[in-house]
Amino acid sequence: MSKWWKPGFLTALPVLLFLLVGFAGPLLMVLGYSLMPPKTFSLIQMPTLANFISIVKDSYYISFNWSLTLALTTVVLLLVICYPIAYGMAKLFGKWANLVTVLVAVPLLISENIRLFGWVLFLLKNGILDGSLKFLFDASAPSVLYSVPAIVLGLVYVYLPFMLFPLVIGLSMVPDTVKEAASDLGATRFQVFREIELPLAMPGVMIGCMLVFILALGSLAESKILGGQVVVMIADDIESAFTFAQNWPKGSALSALLILFSGTLVFYLFKKIDLDRILGRR
């Protein structure tokens, strides 16, 4: 019997094929198209770096910058917002934690775009917020719709569960006795947090940050719907390259750069932070 012909390999085969066709295939096609001459639709041509050169020459760095800035802002804000909630869910709420989980998860059952349009109605001039304020207090709400803060609001709102749940898992992995031991050895609350809780919850923190960062980096709907395109994010550029401009190679090159960027970042961070050691496996 030859070596690959083993039950383990055979049972993995369907998943392997699915991943090859459904995941690796499209990625390779994107990579292939990024090396084709601009505004062409065939993969069988002489490879060229023309798309990348034009990306560097044009002002695409602006939308890259916006995506990066907004993604980072979202990560930081979500960390600050979610950490206390996650702490409560992991350690304090008891049976109520389940209710919070449901409340956070239920909106996920509704399409992201619809939820964002809900925010538009809420924030719109003469919308729910503005109208209510006018009716009740004869005051008018500041116009936040179609601005950068509105985009950030949308990003924070949409990606909250992706930060919250990993944090809950991370924090519930921190044994209470270990924190008590640190406090018993003289550590202040802040020292317990810095020396014990945060390092031990780091796997959850890392996964939450990574998920939110990557999702926000490639986000599109928030800047379009809530931002009214006051800023153009990189996903916008990619979309217009594929649709409006009918320039698949350019869109592919932008996608390839985005994937390369986030991929490098993820690998670098996971290498830098030794999860095995934190989890006590090594």
Binding site: T177, A181, L200
Partner: protein
């Protein structure tokens, strides 16, 4: 209650802890002497872990005062108390090396790196931890090594009192025995006050200067191991010591004789004036069987129906002709009873070995 030898370092005055309607710790008064090895023993659920959590400051008593060298400790938070605890789970920091674990308290109080390392190495030497373990991850250490690391970490804090919450409970028998003796050595070497909690009276006997027996949130007896063993205050303490023969008895007309409900009479060394009824306790090792029982003040006739080896001793079960619960007899391995099962036998004990308790 046996008195504290040295000047008390820790005093508990009417300590109570309630959780809702449940009283976990009920009106405990206790004095622990400086440099003493004091052990609180009790079955699970007796409130001993709750009590130690009050003492280290992880919980607040509902009532009463905790005094450390005459200073009230109740409102001092755990991280400001000059005491330290070795946890049942050990609670080592899994993301830190052996050295970082031991140095933790020194690091947060701002001791510089070189001094920390020197002290850590000293402690590792004292606790027989190989020095190359300094940079090893704690998770790679064995059970016994982890115990020593936890102890080193606590000693590095230089506490006035060191508390232990059943740290040896999860270890195998041999390692536990070794560590019990090591702990006793370390207690002597450091001269610190150790307050230890366990459910094993045997463990307490090996290590302690004094023992407090806890039951349902109260301390029922305090004394040296010798006192607890020879003069248990009640049936609970006597039975907690291990298997004992127990008979319900009451005062009879004669001095130094008590009688059971069915009229059997047994001699005791003396009956306290206030004793009316209670239990007669006879330890299995005080009971002799066969020829060895001849001529003893108290005898019972019965039938031998079981015998076991307990290693160094042999245990026999005898059903008395009067039909009360089986008697336990223990003899040393080198003086065995040579008869057969189902033999009619006589068992007996000296009146000095009759222990009379009132409840």
């Amino acid at each position: 209650m046996s008195e504290v030898g040295a000047k008390p370092i820790l005093q508990l005055r009417k300590i109570c802890k309630k959780f809702g309607d449940f009283t976990a710790v009920n009106n405990i008064n206790l004095e622990i002497g400086a440099g003493e090895f004091f052990t609180i023993v009790g079955p699970s659920g007796s409130g001993k872990t709750t009590l130690i959590r009050l003492l280290v400051g992880m919980d607040q008593p509902t009532d009463g005062d905790i005094l450390l060298r005459d200073k009230r400790l109740n409102d001092v938070p755990a991280n400001q108390r000059p005491t330290c605890m070795v946890f049942q789970s050990l609670a080592l920091f899994p993301h830190k090396t052996v050295g970082e674990n031991i140095e933790f308290s020194m690091k947060i109080s701002g001791v510089d790196g070189a001094a920390r390392k020197e002290r850590a190495n000293e402690l590792m030497k004292q606790l027989r931890l190989p020095l190359e373990y300094y940079s090893k991850n704690v998770n790679q250490c064995s059970g016994g090594e982890r115990q020593r690391i936890a102890l080193a970490r606590a000693l590095a804090f230089d506490p006035q009192i060191l508390f232990f919450d059943e740290p040896l409970a999860s270890l195998d028998f041999r390692l536990r025995k070794t560590l019990e003796k090591e702990l006793k050595d370390i207690h002597r070497e450091t001269g610190k006050t150790f307050v230890y909690i366990t459910h094993s009276l045997e463990e307490a006997m090996v290590m302690s200067d004094r023992i407090g027996i806890m039951r349902r949130g109260s301390i029922v007896q305090v004394g040296t191991p010798h006192e607890i063993y020879n003069r248990p205050r009640n049936k609970f303490v006597a039975q907690f010591m291990g298997e004992v023969n127990t008979l319900e008895v009451r005062r009879s007309g004669e001095a130094s004789v008590c009688s059971t409900g069915d009229g059997q009479q047994f001699q005791v060394a003396g009956i306290p004036a206030e004793f009316q009824s209670g239990h007669l306790i006879i330890r299995p090792e005080a009971v002799k069987i066969g020829e060895a029982a001849q001529g003893l003040e108290n005898t019972v006739r019965g039938k031998l129906f079981n015998s076991y080896s307990l290693g160094s001793r042999l245990q026999y079960q005898v059903r008395s002709t009067s039909g009360d619960s089986p008697w336990l007899v223990e003899m040393l391995q080198d003086e065995p009873y040579t008869g057969e099962l189902d033999d009619e036998v006589v068992i007996g004990w000296r009146k000095e070995d009759s222990i009379l308790v009132s409840d």
